[in-house]
């Protein structure tokens, strides 16, 4: 029965599709796009030591792609033909018969030096052609997940025409203990929640880490001295130093400029919170806002020329944009509600924010001039958006309510679709999504 059905589908699909096919292309701006069906058979182990990696790498690639909500995996049980060797020709008709539009094949070996070598090829099934050249990645066996993510990034880039976000990391706050006395530690993980490593202990409160543009350093707010102040941490050796601040002040909400040498943040003196910038090498400080209002959560534009921030100078929290050197800011948020934590997208086109309206919290995006506001989520407490390196996905903190309420990390497409929970061992908050790794 199954054989006959397959045969019929093959005959039915083969002729019309083969003649009408256009090159495989997924348009990310089309809100009605259907997930593209793809197949990723286990990669071929070319040496015995590569057996376990061959299976695991194909699974991570499938998980990366399906996790975008843009791709749908054809279950391996449906396959008609199997890929028996990396070099052998692809039986396009067999893959058309199961409605796969893309096929990813790969091979894995461990070379004489103990390095893992991953090769992959991408096929456009309906056009009956390979997409781009085969690619090869090599690295230590510990880095097998990174190599899988690199395969996924290449596939995503070839099909959508935009860079991916899979070989990237997220720094965040890992939380344990009761709500009144939460223990918080800085932690770093792969974008999908794997490979969690801790960067600090939980002896004092740590808040809101922010990656440097190259992902090598992290700024955060810590209470080591008993008072909130900004620290700079080196990810490779977890060495840290407090940034020098004027005596008797509190400082928080730091963020790097795109040049990686300038920091913008909030400084509180005498109860008044304004925005300052500091040159990391010289330590020189300049004040960018000067009002009795609360001004905080500054974020640079990707070209470094402007800063978006929140201020309650109008009476409620609203979003403003000013020059990176200060000066008169322009208000950009005008709808009902309170707006906070603005973050400029890496593509420069959108501002993500937290909004409180109607007794709920929302993550939203708006154009840089404040137009076309769209709320992507609605919940008891959502806050603190951070952008994927390609500006297509936003990760944020979602906190549940009540005595046992706790935060965890979620992501959502800028289309508002594909809301996903990112699994972590403990409660988690304040994600900062780093760049694609080299």
């Amino acid at each position: 029965m199954r054989f006959i059905l397959s045969l019929i589908m093959t005959l039915f699909l083969f002729i019309p599709v083969a003649s009408a096919a256009e090159p495989l292309k997924l348009r990310l701006d089309n809100p009605l796009v259907e997930p593209m069906p793809f197949a990723t058979p286990d990669f071929q182990p070319e040496t015995a030591a590569a057996n376990e990696y061959a299976v695991r790498i194909a699974r991570v690639v499938a998980s990366d792609l399906t996790g975008t909500g843009l791709f749908r995996e054809i279950p391996p049980q449906a396959y008609i033909s199997n890929v028996s060797s990396f070099a052998s020709p692809v039986q396009y008709s067999d893959w058309r018969a199961v409605n796969a539009q893309a096929l990813i094949t790969g091979a894995v070996s461990v070379d004489a030096g103990g390095r893992l070598v991953v090769k992959f090829r991408l096929f456009d099934i309906f056009s009956g052609a390979e997409m781009g050249d085969g690619l090869q990645f090599a690295g230590s066996t510990d880095a097998w997940r990174r190599m899988a993510h690199k395969v996924s990034d290449a596939v995503y880039q070839r099909i959508t025409g935009e860079s991916g976000y899979f070989d990237s990391r997220v720094v965040f706050v890992s939380e344990t203990g009761p709500k009144e006395n939460r223990a918080k530690r800085l932690a770093i993980m792969d974008y999908d929640g794997a490979n969690i490593q801790y960067l600090t202990d939980s002896s004092s409160i740590v808040l809101a880490p922010r990656f440097s543009p190259t992902g090598d350093r992290v700024l955060y707010t810590g209470y080591e001295t008993g008072f909130p102040r900004i620290y700079l941490l080196d990810v490779s050796n977890v060495g840290r130093r407090a940034l020098a601040m004027p005596e008797g002040t509190m400082s928080f909400a730091p963020r790097f400029a795109p040049d990686g040498r300038t920091v913008v943040f909030s400084l509180t003196t005498g109860g008044n919170t304004d925005i300052y910038r500091m040159d990391l090498n010289s330590g020189s400080l300049s004040r960018l806002t000067n009002s009795p209002a609360i001004e905080t959560a500054p974020s640079f534009s990707p070209d470094g020329s402007q800063i978006v921030f929140e201020s309650d100078r109008s009476g409620t929290q609203q979003l403003y944009i000013m020059s990176a050197n200060g000066g008169e800011p322009q208000r950009i948020s005008f709808e009902d509600g309170r707006y906070g934590t603005p973050v400029w997208s890496p593509r420069g086109d959108l501002i993500a924010f937290t909004k409180q309206a109607g007794g709920r919290f929302h993550i939203g995006v708006m154009n840089v001039d404040g137009s076309r506001e769209r709320l992507l989520t609605s919940n008891f407490l959502d806050e603190g958006p951070t952008w994927s390196p390609n500006g297509r996905v936003i990760m944020f903190t979602r906190e549940t309510q009540g005595v046992n309420g706790a935060p965890s990390l979620y992501s959502v497409d800028i289309s508002g679709r594909n809301l996903r929970s990112i699994r972590t061992d403990n409660a988690a908050s304040d994600p900062s999504w780093g760049p694609l790794q080299p």
Binding site: I205, L207, G226, P228, M250, T268, G340, T354, V403, D430
Partner: protein, 172 residues
Amino acid sequence: MTYLKKAALMLALLGAAACTNGDRFGNNGEGGAGGPGGANGGIESGTLDPATPQYFNQTVGNTINFAVDQSTLSPSAQSVLDGQAAWLMANTTYIAVIEGHADEQGTREYNLALGARRAAAVRDYLVSKGVAGSRMRTLTYGKERPLASCSTEECYAQNRRSVTIISAAGVS
């Protein structure tokens, strides 16, 4: 003063003695707070040395509360702060850290700034009542250290607070 200290010491010793009979006072149900040990309810306020941080915390009151998203001081908050000011001026060997807190209905950064604003409002009030500014320092916890952990207005109201933490000068 000396008399009060002696009295406090004696009662503390009595308390310790009572503790050795824990079974009798703690577990047989008959004893309890009003049992033969007597007058437990009256001991705390009646015998605390007014010059101690415990007296400040329990009798003067170390905590005041705020309205939603506000840092203005209500009349009842001002009357507690009047007591704090008087105590601080009578006990000049103590210094204070004033913590400002917010409830969870706000973003993390804004709540840090709001907590700082609340702590500063308390500090400024105490200065206006004659306490030297050099004896006080403000600290914000934002929404990081709620007192009550439920997610209703009843808890939120307790969490929107400032707490004046007293310590001996030179010991931080």
